[in-house]
Amino acid sequence: MRKLFLTIGMLCLLGCMTVVAPVCAGTSDLDVLKQLSLEELTNIEVTSVSRNRERLADAAAAVCVITSEDLRRGGFTTIAEALRLVPGMQVAHISASQWAISSRGGNAWFANKLLVLIDGRQVYTPLFSGVFWDVQDTMLEDIDRIEVIRGPGAALWGSNAVNGVINIVTRRAEETQGLLVSGGAGDRERGFGAIRFGTKAGEQGWLRGYLKYFSRDHFDDYNGLPDKDDWRVSRGGFRGDWQLAGEDHLTLQGDIYEGDIDSRVGYFDPEMFRKRIYNSDTDVSGGNILGRWRHEMAEAGSLSLQMYYDRTVRDVPILAETRDTWDVDFQHSLPTINRHQLTWGLGFHFTHDDTDGCKAIYFDPDSRGQYLASAFVQDRFSLIEGCLVLTLGSKFEYNQFSGFEIQPNLRLGWTPMEGQFFWASVSRAVRTPSRSERDVVAVSGAFPTGPIINYLAMVGSNDLDSEELLSYEAGWRSRFGSCFSLDVSAFYNIYHDLRGKAVDAFMAGHGSAIKNGVRILPLHIDNLYDEDVYGFEISANFTPVEWWRLNCSYSRLKIDLHSGVRYPAVDIAEGNSPEHSLALCSYLDLPANFEFDTMFFYVDKLDNEYLDVPSYSRFDCRLGWHPRADLELSFKVENLFERRHEEYDFIDVVPTQVPRSFFGKVTWKF
């Protein structure tokens, strides 16, 4: 029956596509604008959706921009869920508050090859080189765009930008003036609300502040029984932008948050000699402050200097972590000289953590400071002006764990004619060892021999090398008229020295010295695996009429692990990411100021030694209404045709099923 409805829905959508003649959007607005005086023009409200989308149009990389309009029309309540719109990204909702998110394979709860930045601040944690998605949030209405680069961005962004870079950019304070109040509730969204106020601060300065809160209900497990994975977070922040003398620009911004995130986590309890599942009621809190100064020069280009401090506290019952990070970043973009566009920069990053573990998992030492010094240089050289551009760049880094790293990158972009763009690139990127891989002791088994208790434990290693990627990519972006555009990219990624647990050392019987009656039999983490990952992504945008936009994307992914070992870690095991995924989105403007938006996702099965998740289809839809220009009412149903489905499996965190859910929302702008 479910299939029948799904079929009807899809047929309906397809029917609509053929019914509407592809008459492209006109520009009757121009006639209106033409009548206006210069004064009146300065009071016109503009939208720059298309500009944002075109901003990266000549980047020789697989880029995708999620605009503020996409976020609003998709009815997203989290940044993590919005990433489903990006072709080539894997987004799996593990439990109500936890996600596994990766780009081009390697998906796991602790996926570790993605660099995520919010307004230039790195938000992945050096603890495991991954991202705690449950605390990455801001006022969604203030997000200008989310730029996603699939494939390595290491030449510019440095280590850990291996499989992709996600850049979340919020609007300048002057673009978010006035009061905005939004709120809503539903069955899983118990309640959410946000308030933002923007005001002038001085002659050439603007300031905004926001507060937001949400409380989300638990999901159900596969038996339909309620789990304990409800969560709530409150958050506040500000951003100020000042136009200084000349065209210099100063930004000062910060956020604080506090929340309580519940989930159930499995771990081996060495005192009870068995695996236990416990309620991981985690308290999270944190804050950050960032300043950025941009100086524009006449003949010498522009300079930017950015500094931030970030503190995160994650109080997981079995392993608490407090982390302080300081970062300073300098960048100089030179003007074009003899067809060369040079950009260079320097950075210094220091992070210090304090952990508090238990017998089952702890860090040795329990506190550590890590620093990273980096420099990069990039030259964009026009081989044939306006037609063929070669970009050559590299990042040079020094870190305590793996020493000196060079991550070069060569890109070629070709514009044979207006609207057609071909690109190819080859790059090297590394993922430096994380704090966990260096210092963790995680017990996975125990047995007594006489008075001594033996712990089998995964133990970090001092001589671990970086994981390395050599990536070949190519792509084609094209625009046919003003109503159709196509973006195709293909990649072949060769990974070396992926880390895994070295069973051999353990088999040979090397144990640690006996301490307090405990002997640790270590499974050292080592660089063990090589892997090839390849695939392609196709994305098409179609605007048959001014009031209807369609987006369709398909991604294909294949992982080949070169190893006979049976149990590689889940983030490198074959089958951790769907081989096929499809997304179909439709955004429709209706009469009487209604909007009707539908999103369909198909995600292929996950299948390996750890994961057994069947393929799933998901259909979301949203109805929006603007009774007045400043008021928006919307209603969204997620997972319309299914009671619930599973998206990921039990790896440390107990998975729950994504249910059918709905919520209503009101947004009022003054």
Binding site: M1, F5, I8, L13, D29, S48, A298
Partner: protein, 194 residues
């Protein structure tokens, strides 16, 4: 626990939605653009910028040698602005003179003109652009932060959801252009000497 069987609820919802879709396409396909406009009068940046550029013709005085013949507006590196400007200008005449819109992608192709608009992606080409137009009475217009610092004369600056004007009159004066006082009153004056 559940009062309503979710399966049934889902089916009902599906029927309602499918129905809704059909209704929309029977009644709504011919809907007009006007409805969108009263939802929120928002315009595309490129369109507004094109109109601004066109209007600037009335607020600038060129030296005598440029007061005859066609008026040329060159757009360097912003396809959308160029297309909108072409649509806008059409066959119109300004002060009884024909207006030509030229789009170019390379600095070397920039010829003599009245207004040169430098697109956002071409800001870093400014030193070369200035060499190319060296000393000629051409109004340099741009829309990116740093444009005036780099030698531009009029910046279509984003201020919130609006586009405002920032001008550097001394840069214009240097090449013999005079900016109308109404323009100067309306714009933010940025004084950068080069």
């Amino acid at each position: 626990m559940e009062v309503l069987n979710p399966g049934v609820a889902g089916k009902r919802l599906a029927i309602v939605l499918v129905g809704l879709l059909s209704v929309i396409f029977m009644t709504g396909s011919g809907r007009s653009r006007v409805l969108l406009a009263d939802k929120k009068a928002e315009f595309n940046v490129s369109q507004v910028e094109a109109v601004f550029i066109y209007n600037l013709l009335h607020f600038v005085e060129w030296p005598a040698e440029k007061e005859n013949g066609d008026i040329t507006i060159t757009i360097f590196g912003d396809r959308q602005v160029a297309e909108n400007l072409k649509l806008l200008v059409g066959d119109e005449r300004s002060r009884n003179r024909r207006v030509k819109v030229v789009q170019c992608r390379r600095v070397a192709d920039i010829g003599d003109c009245h207004i040169l608009f430098v697109g956002a992606g071409k800001l870093r080409e400014m030193p070369a652009v200035r060499r190319q137009v060296a000393g000629k009475p051409i109004l340099l217009v741009g829309d990116r932060d740093g444009f005036l610092a780099a030698g531009g004369m009029v910046k279509l600056a984003r201020l919130g959801n609006r586009i405002t004007l920032a001008v550097n009159p001394s840069a214009a004066r240097k090449v013999g252009l005079s900016l109308n006082s109404r323009l100067l009153r309306l714009a933010r004056i940025v004084s950068i000497s080069h």
